[in-house]
């Protein structure tokens, strides 16, 4: 009784809201404190893009230092002031840039910007819901993210600089205010920003899970969900279960910083201060707690990209996705394994070698579902009638990068090899290709593909092709050589390699990498121009289903209002990948199964 009543009142409540909003839309309620999932998605996307530009700019600045360690750029002092005295970035500023670049891109761009955007945008549209389960919590999720952004941004303007101990924030650099200039108020702000971010991602994640489970339209069974939704579902589960562990780790860190505890501290000697009384803590504990989040985080970043790539590939190859159930199973396997392998980041910390070898085994197991996915993507392309739209190109680029970066993951997952390669440029190359650039490609693919749905206009294709080819070639030119540097032992995070005899040979290579990095960054600006120009002046979409796709978002009007479907929510009768079935190019999900149709 009470259950049914509640379910119904909720539904009709949603309808009321819908009508109500259309009438009283002010600028503030429509663009700022919007509870419409599509607007919140755009807010996440644009905030993420702002961070991507800032984070990318930081990488350009520190690449400038790595490529030209002896040169002076007076303009640097103009913009950075004391952080670039005499036109050269100071070591402190260098570390701050590296740290902030990592934090911002991992959390703010590729977590919030990626799954925040596409989970919000696609979940209600593709499962056939009028909005998220709780639009209010959804709005809060964005505003917590916004607050985190503001705090993180403000940490860059404090006297002692932003946190500079690496994005992983290992103690003692993060636990002791005296450890480095960046460990002072910069670190306090960093940790507050991250705490706000955890709250934001929890609010979002709970909402995504509840929406996907509870709000599917009639006929949308779990095995009729587009793979995008499955990927976003596992992403949300990973976030909900792993971010709290980071949160606990941060609370202990806050106590270590401010209340004289020694959870992570033992036998510390600080230059200029002397020995500290902290005893009995374990810095390895922090690393365990951090990587218990940190590894699932890699998949929080990667899974949405995987889901979108699967969808985009199927649509643009005009073929059903190959092995839907295998794709689903491998997503599940990756999500489970993500929680079991965290210590492969810690092989050289003094981890128990036997435990380490168990982690090696579990880590290498991830190769199996990853290989299944790659195989299925390639077989989806096989003999497809491929349309090379920019979105499709980025999707294919994702697979290429995922293969190249994934293979080096097998190297690094071996404890024996990792002892040599740990903390070298090999690691940088590995995770930038497989996680950073690959997910960026997934994000670009998604933006190109769903831009017509978001804004009712197309992005410019020619600029899209330039964007893709330069970025694709650039990504390999930047990160491929880093493998060689890493194999030669060049450690990461160093300020100046030219003072080591053994790394002098890489001076030209470093300069090459830096130059390409700047070109690639400039190309991203081209994308931004394309993006913002097309919102207002792009070619208008005239066909509600421009890509001839099956999923439900294309059954909405070109510019869907709050509530997505003006009439009834369509009922679903089939899975989303009926392309080229019985000689028909595509059959959308809301088309009833015909009498003489073959079963899939």
């Amino acid at each position: 009784m009470s259950h049914e009543a509640a379910l119904h009142t909720h539904e009709s409540h949603g309808h009321d809201d819908h009508g109500h909003h259309e009438h009283h839309d002010t600028f503030l309620s429509k663009y700022v404190f919007s509870m419409d999932h599509k607007m919140i998605a755009k807010q996440f996307l644009i905030t993420g893009m702002v961070w991507a530009v800032l984070g990318g700019l930081m990488s350009v600045l520190f690449r400038l230092q790595l490529g030209y360690p002896d040169a002076n750029f007076p303009w640097l002092e103009t913009i950075l002031g004391k952080w670039a005295k005499g036109g050269q970035i100071t070591p402190e500023a260098y570390y701050a840039l590296v740290t902030t670049h990592g934090t911002v891109l991992v959390f703010f761009v590729l977590t919030a910007g990626l799954s925040g955007t596409f989970a919000n945008f696609l979940i209600p549209l593709q499962i056939g819901a009028r909005d998220m389960a709780s639009p209010f919590m959804n709005m809060l999720s964005y505003w917590f993210f916004f607050a985190a952004s503001i705090v993180m941004l403000s940490s860059m303007f404090v006297e002692t600089g932003p946190f500079s101990g690496g994005w992983t924030a290992y103690p003692p650099l993060s636990a002791l205010g005296d450890a480095s200039p960046g460990s002072k108020s910069g670190m306090d702000l960093w940790i507050i920003a991250m705490a706000l971010f955890v709250v934001s991602s929890l609010l979002g994640g709970l909402n995504y899970i509840a929406t996907i489970l509870n709000m599917r339209t009639k006929g949308m069974s779990m095995t009729r969900l587009p793979l995008t939704i499955w990927a976003l579902f596992f992403t949300a589960v990973l976030g909900v279960l792993s971010f709290p562990v980071l949160f606990s780790g941060f609370i202990l860190l806050i106590f270590d910083r401010n209340f004289g505890t020694s959870f992570y501290l033992s036998d510390i000697f600080v230059n200029g201060v002397g020995a500290l009384s902290n005893e009995g803590g374990s810095a390895i504990l922090y690393q365990h707690l951090f990587w218990f989040l940190g590894h699932p985080e890699v998949y929080i970043i990667l899974l949405p990209a995987m889901g979108m790539v699967s969808e985009i590939m199927s649509v643009n190859s005009r073929k059903p996705i190959f092995g839907y159930m295998a794709m689903l199973g491998s997503l599940f396997a990756i999500a489970v394994l993500a929680f079991l392998v965290w210590a492969h980041h810690m092989f050289v910390t003094g981890l128990n070698p036997f435990l380490g070898s168990v982690f090696v085994l579990l880590t290498l197991l991830i190769a199996v579902p990853s290989a299944i996915k790659v195989f299925n993507w390639l077989t989806t392309l096989w003999r497809g009638n491929i349309r090379f739209t920019p979105g499709m190109l980025f999707a294919i680029g994702f697979v290429s990068l995922f293969i190249s970066g994934g293979l080096t993951g097998i190297w690094l997952g071996n404890a024996a090899l990792d002892i040599h390669l740990h903390d070298t440029y090999f690691v940088i190359a590995h995770f930038h290709i497989v996680m950073g650039v690959a997910s960026m490609f997934g994000m670009f693919a998604g933006v190109y593909h769903w831009f017509p749905k978001m804004y009712g206009r197309y992005l410019n294709n020619s600029l899209g092709y330039i964007h893709f080819w330069v970025t694709m070639a650039g990504a390999y030119m930047i990160f491929w050589p880093m493998h060689y540097e890493g194999l030669a032992g060049m450690p990461r995070r160093y300020y100046d390699y030219s003072i080591w005899e053994s790394f002098k040979q890489f001076a030209d290579l470093n300069r090459f990498i830096s130059t390409v990095a700047m070109i690639v960054f400039a190309t991203q600006i081209l994308f931004l121009i394309n993006f913002f120009y097309s919102i207002f002046k792009g070619r208008k979409v005239t066909d509600p289903n421009p890509w001839k796709a099956n999923t439900l978002e294309w059954t909405t009007p070109i510019n869907p209002g709050h509530g997505n479907w003006p009439g009834e929510i369509p009922e679903v009768h089939r899975w989303p990948y009926d392309y080229g079935k019985d000689g028909v190019d595509f059959i959308p999900q809301d088309v009833p199964v015909g009498d003489h149709e073959s079963s899939h």
Binding site: V240, P244, S282
Partner: protein, 228 residues
């Protein structure tokens, strides 16, 4: 085909969309998953505590630390007494919460009000006990970063015993506090007939889930700090 009513087809239909596969409204799904994530927060704390304890040679004996109760003299040696009272308070408040949820299902407003009041009293009593214990330990010189107790084998102890004790019981106490606040809000909403108007007391159920979770966490905290 529609006549087939085997268990398997019935089950499959739950997932077919258009309704909740769990037969609960979204708020409860969210509450359950929130509690899952909170379980990982507490889990991480307790596991961190276990890890540090495993990596340390000696550890204080809880029976020598927690051995007093209010209005007892200086040299009282009554281990486990006070904490068992605290545990029972929380269990009893959990029972009254179940009764409140049940009364809500029966649309029995009086029953909800009565049991919610008992639950709130239980929560406040627990918080008072914790406040007394913290105060007592603080007077003995224990605080974050200060540990007056020695290991059970007579060697010097690190401060991590008190660090973890205050952090974890504090975090749990914070949850109890927010639970009490939520319960008070629920009580006010009941008294102002908000749930009567809605026709259901589902909010009480969700508040109940949270309150039982707080009790559940105490089962673990109690065992890990006072018994093991």
């Amino acid at each position: 085909m529609s006549n087939v009513t085997t268990a398997s087809t019935k089950e499959a239909k739950w997932w077919n969309g258009g309704k909740s596969p769990f037969d609960v409204e979204y708020g409860k799904v969210m509450m359950w998953y929130f509690l899952m994530s909170d379980a990982f927060t507490f889990g991480a704390f307790l596991i961190a505590y276990g890890t540090v304890r495993f990596s340390t040679n000696g550890w204080p004996n809880p029976n020598e630390v927690f051995k007093s109760y209010p209005f007892a003299g200086e040299g009282t040696n009554a281990p486990l007494v006070f904490v068992s009272i605290m545990t029972f308070i929380l269990i009893v408040s959990s029972v009254t919460m179940v009764l409140a949820v049940h009364a809500g299902k029966m649309m029995d407003k009086k029953g909800v009000v009565r049991n919610m009041i008992w639950t709130i009293i239980g929560g406040i009593a627990f918080l008072s006990c914790q406040a007394w214990e913290w105060n007592h330990l603080h007077h003995e010189g224990a605080w974050w970063g200060m540990n007056p107790f020695i290991n059970s084998d007579g060697t010097a102890s690190t401060t991590n015993f008190t660090n973890f004790f205050f952090t974890i019981t504090g975090f749990h106490g914070f949850h109890v506090l927010s639970g009490v606040v939520i319960n008070i809000i629920m009580l006010i909403m009941t008294l102002t007939n908000q749930f009567e108007k809605r026709g259901h007391y589902l909010m009480i159920e969700k508040a109940g889930l949270y309150w039982h979770f707080v009790d559940l966490v105490w089962v673990f905290v109690f065992t890990c700090f006072y018994l093991l």
